[in-house]
C-alpha cells in the first residue's frame, strides 16, 4: 500500500486547543492540564495580542519542552496517510511563526474556541497569513473547538460554517475533551488531499542531512 507523508500545520490563537486536538488524534487522550512535560500549561490562559512583557509571566517555565511534532498514520482508501503534524511551539503567541512553518504543508487546521468570540474574529488573520506564506493548493480546515461547552458558546455554528464555505474550507466543531469530530476532521482532510501531488516543487526534492556511518549512532525520534 502506498504511503504518503502529509505535513499538516496548526494555526489559531493561543489557548484554543490546537495541541489538545492533535493529542486526542495521535494518543486518544485528553488532560485538562495536559502533561506538563509537553508544556501545555502554556495553552491555559489566553493572552490578548497586545500582551505585554508583564503578562508573559503566565507562560512557560524554564526546563519545559513544547511538543513540536506529532505523527499518526491512517488508512484512506488504498493509501496510507502519515500525518506529520507541526505544532506552533508557542511562536503563534506574538504572530512570530516563520515561513518555514507553512512550507510544504498539504493541509492547515485553523482552530478557534467556540466560547471566545475574539478567537473567531482573528481567524481571518490566520487565513490571510496562510494565503501569504502557505502553498497555493493547501487544504484548509477550520475547527471550532470546545463544542462540549455549549452553555458558554459565543460563536454560532452557522456563522462559522458560512465563513468556512466562503473560503472553501472544511468545517467541523470539535471537542478534544470529549473526542467529538477529531477523527472525522482528519478523514475529511484525507478526502480533500489531491490523489497525486498537484504541485510538485519545481526544483525537485532535496535530502535530509545524516550523520556519517562511522559516527556513533544516536537514538533518533
Amino acid at each position: 500500500m502506498a504511503l504518503r507523508e502529509l505535513k499538516v500545520c496548526l494555526l489559531g490563537d493561543t489557548g484554543v486547543g490546537k495541541s489538545s486536538i492533535v493529542w486526542r488524534f495521535v494518543e486518544d487522550s485528553f488532560d485538562p492540564n495536559i502533561n506538563p512535560t509537553i508544556g501545555t500549561k502554556l495553552f491555559v490562559k489566553i493572552l490578548p495580542l497586545s500582551a505585554t512583557f508583564n503578562s508573559l509571566s503566565c507562560s512557560f517555565s524554564t526546563g519545559q519542552v513544547r511538543a513540536s511534532f506529532m505523527t499518526k498514520t491512517v488508512q484512506y482508501q488504498n493509501e496510507l496517510h502519515k500525518f506529520l503534524i507541526w505544532d506552533t511551539a508557542g511562536q503563534e503567541r506574538f504572530r512570530a511563526l516563520a515561513p518555514m512553518y507553512y512550507r510544504g504543508s498539504a493541509a492547515a487546521i485553523i482552530v478557534y474556541d467556540i466560547t471566545k468570540e475574539e478567537t473567531f474574529s482573528t481567524l481571518k488573520n490566520w487565513v490571510r497569513e496562510l494565503r501569504q506564506h502557505g502553498p497555493p493548493s493547501i487544504v484548509v480546515a477550520i475547527a471550532g473547538n470546545k463544542c462540549d461547552l455549549t452553555d458558554v458558546r459565543e460563536v454560532m455554528e452557522r456563522d462559522a460554517k458560512d465563513y468556512a464555505d466562503s473560503i472553501h474550507a472544511i468545517f467541523v466543531e470539535t471537542s478534544a475533551k470529549n473526542a467529538i469530530n477529531i477523527n472525522e476532521l482528519f478523514i475529511e482532510i484525507s478526502r480533500r488531499i489531491p490523489s497525486t501531488d498537484a504541485n510538485p516543487p519545481s526544483g525537485g526534492k532535496g535530502f535530509k542531512l545524516r550523520r556519517q556511518p562511522s559516527e556513533p549512532k544516536r537514538s533518533c525520534c
Binding site: S68, F94, A96
Partner: protein, 445 residues
C-alpha cells in the same frame, strides 16, 4: 514587577538564532526579538521578489518575465555549508536538520587566465585536469596524502614538520610544489581569500584542506550543501528549536533602549515597556556605539535566465577568482543557485558576486566576475560595512556578533558562535551542549 529573563536576544540572524537555541536547550529563559517583521536579519532570504526590489529601491515592480514574486527567496549574503563543517554538525546535534532539505552544489570552479576550470572532485578528474602539469600532479598527490594522514594529535604523522611553527610556505617547499599548485591549494581548497596565510604556521591550512576533502568525500560533486528555499531557513530552524525549549519570540519590535546600570546590561526597553535580563546577545545593528568598522564587503546579486557558461549547465556552482589572477589582494567569489533550490522562478538563476572592498570603486573591482555572468537580467548592488564588537562584553554582559564576512561558507560564523558561548558561560563550547534534552516528538516514528 517586570518580567525577568536570563538572556534577551536582539536580531534573528543565524548567529543569534543558534545561540538562542543553545541557551534555551540548556534551560535558560530566553526572550528573542527582532525589529524587522521577518526572521533572519542580514542572513534572511528575501521573499517575495517585490520586497527585494523595494529593499534596493528599484523603481516599479519586477517585470512579468520574473514570474511569480513568491517563488523567489533571495539570500542577501551568499554562503554555502561545508558538508563536513561545523554548521552541519550543529544542525545534526540539534536535529534542526529535520526541518530542512538540502542539495549538493553541483560544482566548484576556479578562474585562470580569463577562463574557468572545474576544481577536480575525483582522482580521475584531477588526472585529466589541465590546471597543472603531470609532474606537478604527482607531487601534489604526495602532498594530499600527507594532509590526509596528518593528525594534529599524533606527532608521528607530522614527518618532521612542526605544525605550530613551520610556515605553510616552507611546507609547500618541502613538497616542491610550484606556484600554480600553491595558488590552487591555498585559494580553491583551503579557501583563503588572501595570501597572508603563507607565512602563518601550517596547521590551520592543513586542517582547512582536510575539511575541504572530507566535505567533498561526503557527497561527491562539491564539498558544499545548500538548503532548499534559501539560507534564511537556517535561522528559522534554530529559532524553532529555541521556541520548543521555551524561548519567547517577537518580531517587528522596535528596540528603544538597551538599559545599562553600572556598566552592566539590566534590560531592554521596547514600546515603553522593560524586559529585564542578565545577559544580552545582539547583532551590530542594535548597538552602533559598541561596534567598529573594520572593512567593507561588496555583494552583487545577479538574476540570470541561463546557467553560467562553461559550467556544464550546472544548476548551482561556486567560482573562485583568485586575487593574483586579477591583480588584487583578496579573491572574488561567485555563488550560484537556481530554481532547482526553490529560490527562483522556473528557469531563473541567482548568482551572487562578493569580495572585500579594496578601492574607492568597488563595482569596478568585481567586473571580471560580472563578465562571466553576462547577460545579466537584473543586478542588485550592496556595499556593507564589516562591524566587529569593540570589547568582549565581559563587563557589560552585552555580547555582539560579528557581521557576516566575505568567506564563502559558515566556518567563521560558527567560530564566532563558539567564542560568544565561551564568553557568556565561561566554559569551552561543546557540541554535546546542543543536544535536545527531552523528547518533543509524539506518535509513531
Amino acid at each position: 514587577m517586570n518580567e525577568e529573563y536570563d538572556v534577551i536576544v536582539l536580531g534573528t540572524g543565524l548567529t543569534e538564532c543558534i545561540l538562542s537555541g543553545i541557551m534555551s536547550v540548556n534551560g535558560k529563559k530566553v526572550l528573542h526579538m527582532d525589529q524587522n517583521p521577518y526572521y533572519g536579519g542580514e542572513s534572511a532570504s528575501i521573499t517575495p521578489l517585490e520586497d527585494l526590489y523595494k529593499r534596493f529601491k528599484l523603481p516599479g515592480q519586477p517585470p512579468a518575465s520574473m514570474g511569480r514574486g513568491r517563488d523567489w527567496n533571495v539570500d542577501l549574503i551568499p554562503k554555502f555549508l561545508m558538508a563536513n563543517g561545523q554548521l552541519v554538525k550543529m544542525l545534526l546535534y540539534t536535529e534542526v536538520t529535520r526541518y530542512m532539505d538540502f542539495k549538493v552544489i553541483e560544482g566548484s570552479f576556479v578562474y585562470k587566465g580569463g577562463k574557468i576550470y572545474k576544481v577536480p572532485s575525483t582522482e580521475a578528474e584531477a588526472l585529466a585536469s589541465s590546471l597543472m602539469g603531470l609532474f606537478e600532479k604527482r607531487r601534489f598527490r604526495k602532498f594530499l596524502v600527507y594532509v590526509a594522514n596528518f593528525d594534529e594529535k599524533d606527532p608521528r604523522t607530522f614527518e618532521g614538520v612542526d605544525p605550530k611553527k613551520t610556515s605553510m610556505r616552507e611546507l609547500y617547499k618541502k613538497f616542491d610544489l610550484g606556484q600554480d599548485v600553491i595558488d590552487f591549494t591555498g585559494h580553491s581548497l583551503a579557501l583563503y581569500r588572501t595570501d597572508d596565510y603563507l607565512d602563518q604556521p601550517c596547521c590551520d591550512t592543513i586542517n582547512r584542506i582536510k575539511l575541504y576533502s572530507e566535505s567533498l568525500a561526503r557527497y561527491g560533486k562539491s564539498p558544499y550543501l545548500y538548503p532548499l528555499y534559501g539560507l534564511g531557513e537556517l535561522p528559522q530552524g534554530f529559532a524553532r528549536l529555541s521556541a520548543i525549549y521555551g524561548g519567547t519570540y517577537m518580531l517587528n519590535k522596535p528596540i528603544e533602549e538597551i538599559i545599562v546600570q553600572n556598566g552592566k546590561v539590566v534590560g531592554v526597553k521596547s514600546e515603553g515597556e522593560i524586559a529585564r535580563c542578565k545577559q544580552l546577545i545582539c547583532d551590530p545593528s542594535y548597538v552602533k556605539d559598541r561596534v567598529e568598522k573594520v572593512g567593507q564587503v561588496i555583494r552583487v546579486i545577479c538574476i540570470l535566465s541561463h546557467p553560467i557558461k562553461n559550467t556544464n549547465d550546472a544548476n548551482s556552482c561556486q567560482i573562485i577568482i583568485p586575487q593574483n589572477q586579477v591583480n588584487r589582494k583578496s579573491d572574488i567569489y561567485v555563488c550560484m543557485i537556481s530554481f532547482a533550490h526553490n529560490v527562483a522562478a522556473q528557469g531563473k538563476y541567482i548568482a551572487i558576486v562578493s569580495t572585500t572592498v579594496e578601492t574607492k570603486e568597488p563595482e569596478k573591482e568585481i567586473r571580471p566576475a560580472l563578465e562571466l555572468l553576462e547577460p545579466i537580467e537584473q543586478k542588485f548592488v550592496s556595499i556593507s560595512d564589516l562591524f566587529v564588537p569593540k570589547d568582549l562584553g565581559t563587563e557589560s554582559q552585552i555580547f555582539i556578533s560579528r557581521a557576516y564576512d566575505a568567506t564563502t561558507h559558515f566556518e567563521t560564523t560558527c567560530d564566532d558562535i563558539k567564542d560568544i558561548y565561551k564568553r557568556m558561560t565561561g566554559s569551552e563550547f561543546d557540541f554535546e551542549e546542543m543536544k535536545r534534552k527531552k523528547n518533543d516528538i509524539y506518535g509513531e516514528d
